[in-house]
């Protein structure tokens, strides 16, 4: 039985009060379903959650929505502004519309699923989370990405994967160009299995052909300093 959601209307409640109520939830709370009305693009909605609850935001969100998330599921029924799920540690964040720049920045864990397009710098400095974008990502996506995966069903903009460390990048569409030290790599069985697992987690198993993706990653020339490569710095 789905519990009746706790409803918070931001037309008459402050973001501070909303977040304080969410922060007060213990990990074993039975108030696991929340619905936020009239978000109006406000910033920091459902940021810093620490409990396995589901928060549905019924409209467009502003900056840093679901930032620092742990355990919670946050669904944005609209677009999200800069830095959605930045520094997420675990849990799941879904944006049904588009996400602005720096989606999933520095995220350590959990899954960020973007239904539309993501802007510039998607997955910048990614540190272990999984990001799945059904549309395309903007320029400088996966910049300095250290760990985790970025799966893009559409296209990737300029300088994809610039200065990348060990994150795994999979793109089905066209990559405008690769950033410094980012190269295409062969798809091995282990990569196909990893990609399938990420697509399955995003609810896309069977809908998307794993064989249609290409893999990109680091050629490891930049971050393993070697004097012969000094000219490339």
């Amino acid at each position: 039985m789905t519990p009746e959601p706790q409803t918070v209307d931001l037309a008459d409640t402050s973001v501070r009060d909303l977040n304080a109520a969410l922060h007060a939830l213990s990990p074993d709370t039975n108030m696991t379903a929340w619905r936020v009305l009239n978000p109006g693009g406000r910033h920091a909605l459902a940021a810093g959650l620490l409990a396995p609850v589901t928060v549905e935001i019924m409209g467009h969100a502003g900056y840093y929505c679901a930032g620092m998330n742990q355990m919670a599921t946050v669904v944005v029924h609209g677009n999200a502004g800069t830095g959605v799920a930045e520094n997420m540690m675990s849990g799941r964040v879904e944006v049904r519309g588009d996400a602005s720049q720096s989606a999933g920045a520095s995220a350590h864990g959990g899954l960020l699923l973007i239904g539309g397009n993501a802007g510039a710098r998607c997955g910048i400095s990614l540190k272990g989370a999984d990001i799945v974008v059904k549309g395309s990502v903007g320029h400088m996506s996966a910049f300095m990405a250290q760990a985790g995966t970025l799966v893009v069903l559409g296209d990737a903009g300029d300088s994809f994967g610039d200065s990348i460390y060990e994150a795994h990048l999979y793109v089905r569409g066209h990559v405008a160009n690769l950033g410094t030290d980012c190269v295409e790599k062969p798809m091995r069985d282990a990569n196909r299995a990893e990609l399938f697992a990420k697509l399955a987690a995003a609810g896309l198993a069977g809908e998307v052909d794993v064989g249609a993706f290409r893999r990109y990653g680091s050629s490891r020339l930049l971050y393993q300093f070697h004097v012969d490569h000094a000219a490339a710095y």
């Binding site: 109006g40 693009g41 406000r42 467009h60 502003g62 519309g97 802007g119 510039a120 320029h139």
Partner: protein, 298 residues
């Protein structure tokens, strides 16, 4: 920081409330720019009238100023610290000469057949209230809330900047090659009222359009010639255009319905517009020129 808003009426249905919507949008973006605010509202009077938005020195009697200028069939209407002088279009040059000669300490903030332009130091909601923006009607308008970075907090340093008839520019960002570009433009005869970087961009666009380029082509030239970060919204007599720098340093959101096209630095500024819940909302791509124009009017 800084905030920019723009609203373009696709149908006459929201023209009566255009000023009220713009005022609310500016008020929302006060957090991005509490130092000063300004806006341009385009309301074509008739093709035979030229409007000068003036900022006379405090204490000026507008009727005395009007008499001093001596332009036949002209009128003046005070709005806050500004006043709009309306003259028959054939007396445009005469009015400009009279303002320079008879009222040298009166600032011509903007001039055009459609545009009225107001800007002042203070919180955006106070500035909008002071000029009665909420009561203005128009076909389109743009506005700005400023958090000063490149030059002082003064009325002259507030946006929009207007450097040509019915043209004005609002800017979020800062330019790094404005001093060099200003010198180049000065060398070919353009004058500057401030040391502000945005004024350089406005003069640049005016100069390119005077060279014969369309607004779209002038903005494409800006991508090559301006260094720094910027989101621009440019107002003209017939519409407005949007350009973000190629690396999209500054945020921007657009929304479109059957009734309007709206621009905001943040979605929050658009959240109160009628029908926004079903509007198409998107982020303009970097380095791409977006333009909306009203068709020619009779």
């Amino acid at each position: 920081m800084c905030g920019i808003v723009g609203l373009f009426a696709k149908t006459p249905s929201i023209e009566a409330e255009l000023g009220a919507h713009l005022a609310a949008m500016l008020g929302t973006l006060a957090e991005r720019g509490p130092d000063s605010a300004g806006f341009a509202v385009y309301a074509p009077a008739d093709a035979a009238t030229m409007k000068f938005t003036l900022r006379p020195p405090g204490g000026t009697d507008p009727e005395a100023l009007l008499a001093r200028l001596g332009i036949p069939d002209s009128s003046i209407q005070t709005r806050g610290s500004h006043a709009v002088l309306s003259v028959p279009a054939e007396h445009d040059a005469r009015a400009r000469a009279a303002l320079a000669a008879q009222a040298p300490d009166t600032v011509v903030v903007g001039r055009g057949r459609a545009m009225e332009l107001y800007k002042e130091v203070g919180l955006p909601a106070d500035v909008a209230r002071g000029f009665g923006l909420g009561d203005m009607r128009g076909t389109h308008g743009i506005g700005h809330t400023r958090m000063a970075t490149e030059s002082a907090v003064t009325t002259d340093g507030a946006h929009p900047f207007s450097t040509g008839p019915d043209q004005c520019l609002v800017h979020n960002g800062s330019l790094s090659n404005h001093n060099g570009l200003r010198r180049e433009l000065q060398r070919v005869g353009y004058g500057f009222a401030t040391d502000n970087d945005t004024e350089v961009a406005a003069v640049y666009l005016t100069a390119r359009m005077r060279d014969g380029l369309s607004l779209g082509d002038a903005l494409h030239g800006a991508l090559r010639d301006l260094d720094g970060f910027y989101t621009f919204v440019v107002g003209t007599g017939t519409g407005f255009a949007v350009l973000r720098d190629p690396i999209a340093c500054k945020p921007a959101v657009m929304a479109e319905t059957a009734e309007f096209v709206a621009f905001g630095t943040e979605y929050r500024a658009l959240a109160g517009l009628p029908g926004i819940d079903t509007a198409r909302v998107w982020e303009p791509e970097p380095g791409r020129v977006y333009a909306w124009e009203h068709g020619p009017t009779a």
